[in-house]
């Protein structure tokens, strides 16, 4: 028997071609850049000399709001096929199914990291004048600065994969997005408003903990002093978000492998 022509690179090329053609995804990526840079610029206006801000913290300041965009990016990538009833055509061509999800994960990771990198460069550019005025340069020889800038890209990429996992698992855009926002952003805020040993411990293990990757050392120390939960190292927090993305994608893979693609599935 000849080897199958349905190779992973081919499935990847197919998914990449489809996803880059989806207008919503292009708009979402563009919004991520605009929101990150716009927020960073706006917040830099509030920074004052002698405040807690550093050059790096001003450059990544748009991350909280931009997270919503990256979640939407992943959720859209994971649900678009079901929303448009296209899923069955895809799985007719790739009946083993899992290569499709793997390809979507690769494309989402590439799209999100490129978008995050562009958003970061845009944020650095629009805050440049203000950082000069405040005397807060961006020193790329400084390990903390490098960690925060790289952390911005890594965290947003992981967040997009969390969105993809939830989207592919739940198959409904609105339900998946609301679940994602609650898990990544809102629950964290709520627990922050009600500090205590238990809420602080839960907070430390939510996907939003990945923001520690892009938080400065001084600010981390202040946060840890106020929290009675465990204190994760920034890189450990980064691994934690990656773990969340992996678990959700694995759950989506299980549903995909075992379950039906039902005719009413959208």
């Amino acid at each position: 028997m000849t080897s199958s022509p349905v190779t992973f690179p081919r499935v990847l090329a197919s998914e990449a071609g489809k996803m880059t053609g989806v207008r919503t995804l292009r708009w979402t990526a563009l919004s991520c850049v605009a929101v990150a840079a716009g927020t960073a610029f706006g917040l830099s206006l509030f920074a004052r000399p002698g405040g807690g801000a550093t050059g790096a913290s001003l450059a990544v300041a748009g991350h909280v709001l931009a997270q919503l965009g990256f979640l939407a990016l992943g959720v859209t990538a994971g649900t678009e096929e079901f929303r448009t009833k296209l899923a069955h055509v895809t799985f007719l061509a790739v009946p083993r199914r899992l290569p499709v999800l793997a390809a979507q994960a690769v494309v989402t990771a590439v799209l999100a990291s490129v978008t995050a990198a562009v958003a970061l460069v845009a944020s650095i550019a629009v805050t440049a004048a203000r950082r000069d005025a405040l005397g807060l340069p961006l020193n790329l020889a400084d390990a903390e600065t490098v960690r925060m800038l790289a952390g911005f890209v890594l965290h947003q990429t992981a967040i997009a994969l969390v969105g993809l996992g939830l989207g592919a698992l739940l198959r409904r855009p609105a339900g998946a997005f609301v679940t994602a926002v609650v898990g990544v952003v809102v629950l964290d805020q709520f627990l922050a408003m009600n500090p205590g040993r238990f809420p602080d411990t839960v907070r430390a293990f939510l996907p939003g903990a990945g923001t520690r990757l892009l938080t400065g050392d001084d600010r981390l120390a202040a946060l840890d002093a106020a929290s009675s939960g465990p204190h994760l190292e920034p890189w450990a927090a980064g691994l934690l978000v990656a773990g969340w993305a992996t678990v959700l994608l694995a759950a989506a893979a299980t549903r995909l492998r075992r379950g039906d693609i039902a005719s009413w599935e959208k």
Partner: protein, 275 residues
């Protein structure tokens, strides 16, 4: 004139939209989530703080509001985008060719549904503080002081948020972008703005800096800030640097957040083709 001759009158369109809204499963899920979240979070919060000296059970009534807001927002957005995501709008606009009455009817149906849901959420919150209050033998008197305003304000706030969600949903027409917009404006932007001022650590003795005044003004004018004024007792401290709108002013700002996108959606329906 016979009943047959009048066609799609507004009450009939409202009745049709009501049927559509209440036949969606997502509507009931959002309603259930709103009530359940309100009850659970208020209960947990009341239990956690009931040991504090000088504990006031009524102080916990709005403890779950941050998350309860999501239910009405999602309900509104899905009501606004539902027709466009399923193609159902073709049938609807064939039946009501003038189109804008559909939007007005959707607003009426959503408000009519969200209001009892909001009342149920508030009742759930009241019931949820009772165990903590009785464990300390504290009375729960809902008719005294600012409590009646707080309760009524919460109901109006939640109902207003559902209309804000509907308006953005009808304008944007796609569920995820609409949800990003409303959740970003209502839940996330206020936090981002707070973070902007927090690390500077100035003391109040120095007065309000222009930056803080700006942040507080923007926060107050956002849907959640404006709605929060409805809930806040009128004798509470005003937010430093922000305009003192009062409960009525806050309610009007929230109404504007619903009305402006709703009018824009109506114009979009009127001027553009429906594909």
């Amino acid at each position: 004139m016979s009943a047959r001759g009048r066609g799609a009158t507004l009450p009939r369109v409202v009745a049709a939209e009501w049927t559509k809204l209440t036949s969606l499963r997502s509507t009931w899920w959002a309603a259930l989530a709103s009530v359940a979240v309100s009850a659970a979070l208020t209960y947990l919060s009341a239990n956690a703080s009931s040991g504090d000296p000088g504990y006031d059970p009524l102080g916990d009534l709005t403890a779950g509001l941050l998350l309860t807001q999501l239910g009405p927002l999602v309900l509104g957005v899905l009501a606004g985008t539902g027709e466009f995501s399923t193609g159902g709008f073709r049938t609807t606009f064939v039946a009501v060719p003038r189109r804008w009455p559909v939007l007005a009817a959707q607003a009426a149906a959503v408000a009519g549904f969200a209001l009892p849901v909001a009342v149920a959420s508030v009742v759930a919150a009241v019931l949820a503080v009772l165990p903590a209050a009785s464990s300390r033998d504290l009375p729960v008197n809902l008719t005294e002081g600012s409590t009646p305003q707080e309760l009524a304000g919460t109901v109006l706030f939640l109902t207003g948020l559902s209309l804000f969600g509907l308006a953005v949903g009808a304008l944007v027409r796609r569920a995820v972008p609409a949800l990003v917009t409303v959740i970003g404006l209502t839940l996330v932007l206020p936090v981002v703005l707070t973070l902007a001022v927090e690390p500077t650590g100035t003391t109040f003795a120095e007065g309000v800096t222009p930056q803080e005044a700006a942040v507080n003004t923007i926060t107050t004018l956002l849907p959640s800030g404006a709605g929060g004024l409805l809930v806040t007792p009128s004798d509470a401290l005003t937010v430093p640097g922000a305009p003192d709108l009062g409960a009525v002013g806050g309610g009007l700002v929230l109404a504007a957040w619903a009305l402006v996108p709703l009018v824009a959606a109506a114009l979009r329906l009127r001027l553009k083709d429906v594909k």
